[in-house]
């Protein structure tokens, strides 16, 4: 017989579910034993299913094997007594909790979502939170994470170790499982969860990784977890809707950002017919829902910008005044020199390159920005369009020198090469 096909990412996503559910059952301080048990169960499945075929309920099969393996291992290690005490708490009835938390914690049935909140512990550095979430919730291995983040395996491992150390330290209060969050903690961590999902998404979206599939995967994971969050009362806030809106609206344009050879394409060069209409539709629906309530977050502003681009019939017909407004709003809610730079670009499209330069007048960029290709490229472009050839040349040199990848360099070369003289001769 031939092994039946499995849905895409089945093993990775089952790994995440196993880790999340077992963490709730035995406590997140056992994270290492839990991850080992999940890994072993998947290996056992690989061995068994390809010969015997799929069981009726693959997830239940995996859970049984992982649970038995974990319990066996823990029993061996810590002795029978402690485990028996613990299983009375975990497998039996509801975990006893403070009265106020019962309702919410009882609703947190989705173990994956719970695990996401566990990862977003402010005692864990954000970089480690991100690695922990990718490892435990998305089922990526250390080498796979390193490959996606352009960093060394040792570095990923170090961050993971730091996060796990914190999880191990979570000691149980009497009558309560360790790592169990109170309703208040859930509410407090919502912004941290938003931030992690945003980072995961932008890592995939903005990464200069040549393989579109790899970048897409990170975006899909962020979308999957964000949808989970939006589906639960604790996460049903306008910011979550805005975050989902911006993810869908960016995802809509993802495939069109690359040419056939994997090179990057400018917004004005993209074939708008290749934008994904379903994603745009989903994004606009979330955008409408994000307006329920009087919250205005950075995600709202960014979703607004993405929506303007998606709705514009062409680059020229983009409502640049709206885009510039959104960037101004972004500067107010999440001050960053990068947002000022983006506003300058939008204003230049709206009212001309001189007006764009005006936005940056008297603005001292921090060193990290001043030395980056982004800053230099925008200035080179604006000066070139104003006819300030010498300034344009100088910034162009800096931009090409500081381009992080060959793809970016090729894009800058194409964009910044066209001097007014060359344009004129091309027209002739």
């Amino acid at each position: 017989m031939t092994a039946p096909k499995l849905v895409e990412h089945f093993f990775r996503h089952e790994y995440g579910k196993l880790v999340a559910t077992l963490s709730r059952r035995v406590g997140v301080h056992e994270i290492e034993a839990i991850e080992d048990a999940a890994q072993s169960a998947l290996m056992a499945a690989l061995e068994s299913w390809r010969v015997a075929g799929l069981p009726d309920n693959p997830s239940a099969w995996l859970f049984r094997v992982a649970h038995n393996g974990l319990m066996g291992g823990l029993r061996k290690r810590t002795g029978r007594q402690r485990i028996l005490e613990r299983s009375a708490v975990d497998i039996g009835t509801e975990t006893p909790q403070g009265e106020a938390d019962v309702a919410l914690a009882g609703e947190m049935r989705d173990d994956l979502l719970r695990m996401l909140f566990v990862c977003c512990d402010d005692a864990i550095p954000v970089e480690s939170q991100r690695v922990l979430a990718l490892k435990t919730l998305c089922g990526f291995s250390v080498p796979e994470i390193a490959h996606r983040f352009f960093t060394s395996e040792a570095n990923v491992y170090k961050r993971l170790t730091r996060a796990r150390r914190r999880l191990r330290e979570l000691s149980p209060n009497p009558g309560e499982l360790d790592g169990e969050l109170t309703g208040e903690q859930y509410a407090c961590r919502v912004p941290a969860v938003h931030k992690i999902l945003y980072l995961l998404f932008t890592e995939g979206y903005l990464s200069s990784h040549a393989e579109l599939a790899i970048r897409r995967e990170l975006c899909d994971e962020a979308l999957r977890l964000a949808a989970l969050l939006a589906d639960h009362p604790v996460g049903r806030v306008p910011e979550t809707s805005a975050l989902l809106a911006l993810m869908h609206l960016h995802a809509a344009r993802m495939a069109a950002r690359q040419d056939g050879a994997g090179g990057l394409l400018l917004l004005e060069e993209q074939d708008r017919d290749r934008w994904d209409a379903h994603q745009i539709q989903a994004g606009l629906e979330w955008l409408a829902r994000s307006a329920e309530g009087d919250v205005l977050s950075r995600y709202h502003a960014e979703a607004g910008i993405a929506a303007e681009h998606c709705l514009a019939p062409s680059f020229e017909e983009t409502r640049w005044e709206k885009v510039a407004d959104y960037y101004a709003m972004l500067e107010r809610v999440a001050p960053s020199p990068l947002h000022r730079l983006n506003r300058a670009v939008a204003v230049a499209e709206w009212r001309g390159p001189d007006a764009g330069l005006e936005v940056l007048e008297g603005f001292e960029p921090p060193t990290w920005l001043a030395g980056s290709h982004l800053w230099a490229a925008v200035l080179a472009d604006l000066h070139r369009r104003c006819g300030n050839t010498r300034a344009a040349e100088r910034y162009r040199g800096i931009a090409l020198e500081s381009a992080p990848t060959a793809a970016v360099e090729a894009l800058l070369e194409r964009r910044l090469c066209a001097t007014p003289g060359a344009e004129a001769s091309a027209r002739r």
Binding site: M1, T2, A3, P4, K5, L6, H9, F10, F11, R12, E14, Y15, Q39, L42, M43, L46, E47, W49, R50, V51, G139, F140, S141, P143, E144
Partner: protein, 111 residues
Amino acid sequence: MPNYLCMQRSLPRGDAEKPSPAQMQEMYAKFGAWQAKFKDNLVDMGGKLGAGKLVTADDVPDGPFVEVKELVGGYMIVAAGTLDEAAEVARECPGLVSPGSGVEVIEIHTP
């Protein structure tokens, strides 16, 4: 076509890394493709081998047998025209012939 017994053997110095979930999914898919390709050759997919006992006329403890238990991971039976053909079926089986694992292919004589 004669049948051949294929026995997986773990090889020394095979410190293969644990596959990631994504790699496992890939292995699963490759295995399916391999099964489809050689469906006429795969007589018995066999299975993993567990604990064993050597039964002899003498009252010998199963000392040397322990090593065999550790060495042989699993078995299957394939039908093929020649030993080389059978070896090819085994060689193409995903994961069977890898840094930590090899396969012994033995013809089964039927009377």
